[in-house]
């Protein structure tokens, strides 16, 4: 069941007015224009013992993603494909708004949006994750860990996930005569096969303005938000309207166009981080 959040901070009307009057001048409280994300920092390999990892800072928002791998059974309808799971934890360390407990609807939505972006584009080649087709495949666990929440967890999580997957190397293994697979996690050599890179752009509608990468203040006063996933060719590979409120047809199409430009900045950060890491 989903409930109207009843513990959100109430944003003073004044704050909203300030934000709106800045937007009318093309400005934002964080000193950037409407279509530019905050400063992005991507770092891979931050958890040495994980098979892959990345930390992303998007302004003051900080997200850590770790990838662990295991050997398991494939799904019955895709016997020759590996399995990828995405889980998100909004740990209470990250915000006074988060409480300990199982993932709530926000964490689940976050994980599922990231999951679909990867899955629908076959971003990670799942066929290459079969070890013994029909019985043993790689299971890739992507765990999104939010460390500091200052808005726009979507883009930060997607970027960290993509970077962590690109950072991932599968452990060496030995196949016993019994068919059992023995992992040697001390040696990780085989990188994941990445078919496609996918990132999202989160755009908030505040009054009549569309702003890229809203910070927490902006999210709180926003009328609604839309998260759009793109591949490197600019195809639209996933969308989620998130948050109460509505948009017009024209606003959606405009957001798609704004996002397609903005995502290039994220792709650039991703590329710098993943090539510098080599």
């Amino acid at each position: 069941m989903s409930l109207t959040p009843f513990k959100v901070p109430i944003v003073p009307e004044l704050r909203k007015n300030t934000i709106l009057s800045l937007l009318a001048k093309g400005l934002r409280t964080s000193e950037r224009d409407l279509v530019t994300p905050r400063i992005v920092r991507v770092k891979t390999g931050v958890i040495e013992r994980a098979e892959g990892s990345a930390q992303v800072e998007l302004g003051n928002t900080k997200v850590l993603v770790g990838v662990k791998t295991d050997v398991g059974a494939p799904f019955r309808d895709t016997p020759d494909e590996g399995v990828i799971t995405v889980n998100a934890e909004l740990v209470p360390l990250a915000s006074p708004l988060f409480e300990p407990g199982p993932p709530d609807e926000n964490a689940i939505e976050l994980a599922r949006v990231v999951d679909r972006s990867i899955r629908e584009t076959n971003a990670v080649d799942r066929k290459s994750l079969a070890i013994i087709p029909g019985s043993k495949v790689w299971v890739i666990h992507v765990d999104i860990y939010v460390l500091d929440h200052d808005g726009n967890l979507f883009d930060a999580s997607m970027l960290a996930t993509m970077a962590a997957l690109m950072d991932t190397k599968l452990p060496d293994y030995e196949e016993l005569e019994t068919g059992e697979i023995i992992l040697d996690r001390s040696k990780k050599t085989m990188p994941l096969k990445i078919n496609k890179k996918v990132l999202t752009v989160n755009i908030a509608k505040i009054g009549d303005y569309l702003v890229v990468d809203p910070d927490l203040d902006e999210e709180t006063v926003a009328d609604t938000r839309i998260v759009i996933a793109y591949d490197e060719e600019g195809n639209i590979v996933g969308i989620q309207k998130s948050g109460p409120g509505a948009m017009t047809r024209e606003e959606i199409l405009k957001a798609v166009d704004i996002g397609r430009e903005a995502v290039k900045i994220y792709f650039k950060s991703l590329e710098e981080a993943t090539t510098s890491a080599e």
Binding site: M1, I239, A246
Partner: protein, 243 residues
């Protein structure tokens, strides 16, 4: 998911596996006042997809500390009956159901005039009795009818439909077979009278041009669905098969 490999889903004449044209809805049925206890209720069918909606409220919130000082608390539960799917679904809420409950709630937060009813709760309970694709959008339609049936004031009626892309072509109101082998699925909910899109998702890949075309296909269909809603609210029952 019954991914039918090798089966053509659109024939050379542009007809879909069930004979529909690309921009054609399945037969739609709407009925209100189907439950006694609920303050409002509706049954909506898109083909074999069948949704039962009940609305309770405005009433005192079950847990009083949740009451909001300036508006009604909205509670939405999208839930699948265990027998609604091909393989039995556990009645415990899945991650998918939790997400869909959220996006459907958010589709109505700005539609219901919640400011009229501070300190109360309005509950929308949606049961998928049979699932054959498009359950979340049919659920939005059913919720809109049940809210109106309960006399809850709204800015406008809302309806939903999904557009899919199969075999390179955009099609309206995808069913489960089409969804299972489709390239994209785009559920949309819309309130035509105020021109607001209140639910919007895309799973899969579309070009910018396809997105715009698909969106318009959905909005056109929703305009008709909302007209059906209006007739249903007058006549209690409407079926496009009978038309």
């Amino acid at each position: 998911m019954g991914k039918a490999i090798g089966v053509k889903l659109i024939d050379e004449l542009g007809r879909r596996h069930d004979g529909r044209l690309p921009d054609q809805m399945r037969p739609v049925k709407m009925r209100i006042n189907v439950l006694e206890n609920a303050d409002g209720s509706a049954l909506v069918e898109y083909g074999r997809t069948r949704i039962l909606a009940a609305v309770y409220g405005p009433r005192e919130p079950v847990q009083k500390f949740m009451a909001l000082p300036d508006r009604a608390l909205l509670r939405v539960r999208y839930h699948m009956a265990p027998f609604s799917t091909e393989e039995r679904k556990s009645p415990a809420p899945s991650r998918r159901e939790i997400e869909l409950s959220k996006v459907i709630r958010e589709a109505f937060e700005d539609i219901i005039l919640v400011k009229y009813f501070p300190r109360t709760a309005i509950d929308i309970f949606l049961e998928v009795l049979q699932a054959d694709g498009g359950t979340r959008t049919a659920a939005v339609t059913a919720a809109s009818l049940a809210l109106a049936n309960a006399g809850i004031p709204m800015k406008a009626l809302v309806a939903g439909v999904a557009v899919g892309k199969i075999e390179g072509q955009l099609v309206l109101d995808v069913d489960e077979i089409e969804d299972g082998s489709g390239e994209a699925d785009m559920p949309v909910a819309y309130a035509p009278d105020i021109e607001k899109i209140t639910l919007f998702q895309l799973n899969g890949v579309l070009t910018r041009e396809e997105l715009e075309r698909g969106l318009d296909m959905a909005l056109n269909a929703i305009r008709e669905l909302v007209e059906l809603e209006k007739r249903t609210l007058k006549e209690e029952y409407v079926s496009t098969e009978e038309v």
